[in-house]
Point group: C2
Chain length 602, copies 2
Amino acid sequence: MFPYAAPVRDMNFVLSELLSHESLSLPAFSDISPDLVDAVLEEAAKLASDVWAPLNASGDRQGCTRRDDGGVTLPDGFIEAYRAYAEGGWNGIGVSAELGGQGLPEVVATSVQEMLHGANMALGLCPMLTAGAIEALAHHGSDGQKALYLDKLIEGSWTGTMNLTEPQAGSDLSRVRTRAIPCEAVEGDFYRIFGQKIFITWGEHDASDNIVHLVLARTPDAPEGNKGISLFLVPKLLVNPDGSLGERNDVVCASIEHKMGIHGSPTCTLSFGEKEGAIGFLVGELGRGLNHMFTMMNEARHKVGVQGIGVAERACQHAFSYAAERSQGRMPNTRGGEPCVIAEHLDVRRMLLSMRARTDALRALALYCAALLDVARHHADEDQRRSAQARVDVLIPVVKGFSTDQAVDIASLGIQVHGGMGYIEETGAAQLLRDVRISAIYEGTNGIQALDLAGRKLQMDDARTMSSLLDEVKATAAQMKDSPDLALLAEELAAGAEDLRVCVAKVLEEGRDSQSGQDAVQAYATPLLSLAGHVLCAWQMGRAALQAQQAVDAGSDDDFYRRKLTSADFAIRQWLPVGRAQRQVIEAGMQCLAAFTVTRES
Amino acid sequence: MFPYAAPVRDMNFVLSELLSHESLSLPAFSDISPDLVDAVLEEAAKLASDVWAPLNASGDRQGCTRRDDGGVTLPDGFIEAYRAYAEGGWNGIGVSAELGGQGLPEVVATSVQEMLHGANMALGLCPMLTAGAIEALAHHGSDGQKALYLDKLIEGSWTGTMNLTEPQAGSDLSRVRTRAIPCEAVEGDFYRIFGQKIFITWGEHDASDNIVHLVLARTPDAPEGNKGISLFLVPKLLVNPDGSLGERNDVVCASIEHKMGIHGSPTCTLSFGEKEGAIGFLVGELGRGLNHMFTMMNEARHKVGVQGIGVAERACQHAFSYAAERSQGRMPNTRGGEPCVIAEHLDVRRMLLSMRARTDALRALALYCAALLDVARHHADEDQRRSAQARVDVLIPVVKGFSTDQAVDIASLGIQVHGGMGYIEETGAAQLLRDVRISAIYEGTNGIQALDLAGRKLQMDDARTMSSLLDEVKATAAQMKDSPDLALLAEELAAGAEDLRVCVAKVLEEGRDSQSGQDAVQAYATPLLSLAGHVLCAWQMGRAALQAQQAVDAGSDDDFYRRKLTSADFAIRQWLPVGRAQRQVIEAGMQCLAAFTVTRES
């Protein structure tokens, strides 16, 4: 298994050269210098590469086991690695200083997340879920709840979970049946929770002193559907008013799942209320549980996209390492005819460059989105905040859906580079595919992401935000046109932007039809998301190319910039065209999907 | 886990309506009627669905274990399932009657293979490898070897293996180091084999009475490279002149691999000559081992493509079953607004139709190729045989490379249809991806297939055979144009054919360059294979559409034909465009690949 090296230089390129460290100009970050950012990334890289990454393969092999006492044993070393992370203060880096976090910009937190997921995705899920719980409580918790729970969650001595899914309620959470019975008349200001939740990530473990479950449940007499669902906080161990830990709550891990990957992450079925009912506290308003969840879902979805990118980066590194040392075949005669490593074969190089170019592009887009999150949260001007948030809203489903779809493909290509060795588990390439495959499914399947983009985010403002993004894409293309070396790229990028504009217009128009509108949005959602992902990623690589070309023109002989130019060339001229084909797919219409009735047998 | 139902109707559609049972008009099959073919398929379907398929999941879970005595224990039921297959006479169905087989056409044997791999790919590998050994001996074995080994292999009481790979010799077999020391002066007319082979499929097991290993090895003083390699027959148990089994040969299973999938197939490291040297018999000519291997490799590659299609079919069936019964979300208001199964959502239907259309198309192409194999072997006219063989040669890398690449994607989409359940191993969808992933790697990685197409098969005759295929594609498109319902499809198909023509010409031309020719072929090989696969598959679906439209126009109300029309519509108008984008990829040139030097770190 090849080691993992956090891609600090690549991240710095995006943060400083593509994003010009814009986040640092926000008032909230006035005391943060680029040097500090560098230092943070270097430190995080050590944690990721030295502490987390070495446990990735053993965690997969060993997996988690549920003990007879209902507890879950994590793979060897996971508790220590988690504690090293928490004690290093990493859990709070993206949390604002007012809440007790370190208040670093989202662009920095995102970079650190990418490293950690690249190092050990199964372990990275634990803080990822905790971050969701922190968000939920910070936005919707009462002062008392914040006082009791937030500090512990932010310092990482307690972890958090999201309890949404039930067997009959997956993508469709309106079907949640878990019950929450109010007890104020009898017992106190809380609810008793009864029900079963499945697919609960890090639902039970001993890495933290307590686990704070956030649970969607339905109160008695609540209306059917979404509006009957509320959000509850259910601690594993009850918390005394002074913050000390009390009795065990009535929630147990009934089983853990046998999954394709992320074996080091305990995916639990949790039973609430097998005895007297689990004690739960209402978070936010009654009946607004789904809304409260969705507040944080945007950011959780961004994190899943970043997770995909982390694994894609690791797949690149494995493939490059292997290709650079595996000797097989010979150079073409004109290049010497000698035995050579497989990286010399242009067919293998195509795979490597495709992996690298796409990973570069996905990272640039995810960090661009993170920078917008910083503006949306912290800019002094409300209009600026609002327009940044609008862009974030449009970009999130792309970052989540497109990055993870691509990451699955990149990980699969990583196996392919290894040939037969890639299929052997000890090599480590297969694990990356098995692990990352879930990222296209959870936190809203990528189909749900596509519907979110086509059905919600674009419709919300008649695609005005997307149009403004496309104007920037075209402006970048125009700028590239002035550079002779980038003229061909400029043309392709502009054409891609135009394809996306046309398709967005079509989806909006057909989506308005009172008869077939909903079907149209469904039918076109996935190709539209793919097209948008390709165009926006190509745009980022266009910006990277401008930057790199400038450095080269200024006389830089840093190979880094020439590699970025190559990466951009591939992304725009050899990857974008495949995405642009989605325009034909959309223009082919939805008739054949509508005509295709499905039976079990067909 | 959903059951598997062999797709007999779909196969019959291809055999009887697309291929008009042409194979049955060959003299070798004069006594075989369409009814007999039907009966064979129905019987095979029973074996596949009732005997093999139920062991697929348990075989994956249980896997194979190497015992301390060096033997390998197969998953429960595998021995019995293999014996049911052998005793049913299935092992010989594709083997000619002269050799003692049942002499059924390759189109029929291929259909049966697809069923068996769809039912249980890990088990299907055992007869697949045996078929290779039969081919090798039938073509290159001495009369004595044929007499001793062929009958047993054909009846399936012995199985065969292919021993090619060594740690340093994978795609590049010229690096084989296993030694074969001639003993005729001292011991007898055989060789002593010393060396280690890896990745030997079904290299050790107790399902058969004996195992016949075919081994590539190098004789002393043989020239370096390919021409020093010969092919040897090394039986696990030595065979006495009367055919009875003798002593154990000096070959042992040193270990079995821990793989991503096909856990029910024992992938062995075999050690030859740990003691006195394994006794091996030269097959064919000295120094022509690789050539002899390649004789049968074409057909083995066809089989691997078919294997991919079998798993893709099963993935379709799982996904359709799940989507037709999983209730989640609601109908659009205009369709009632009621809770509905996910197959009602057009986004899910896009996934299902994409899986189905591609599987239909891949099957049609693989069976078209099988029909050409029948002609190439059995037609009375030599010109006909030769031109069919030329087409087979061009099609094989497409059937192998494109079918398996697509099968990987189809299996992954099958997981996606299942949402979170798809990631849980018990569901069975993940196993299909884990299993089929190897098909894109073994029997020549898909990169090797692409090089075979672009670098060998097209160059051999200046792409004349491909041109003649493209003429047929265009003729089909012209025919479709006459049918108003197929006119749009016709246009797209013709455009795809033109793209392929242009790209083939470019690859041929740049490939001729004495400086950069070899690099050019490498650079364009994979996109060219993808384009060729899309166009040829779309062609088959065009032919299917013509057939189905004819039936509908003639008044058929069989839903089967309407589904085929939908499948063809999707394949040609929503899948082919993605493939056509490979023209842009090829036209983007190879500069960025050439410029992209690879280091371990990059």
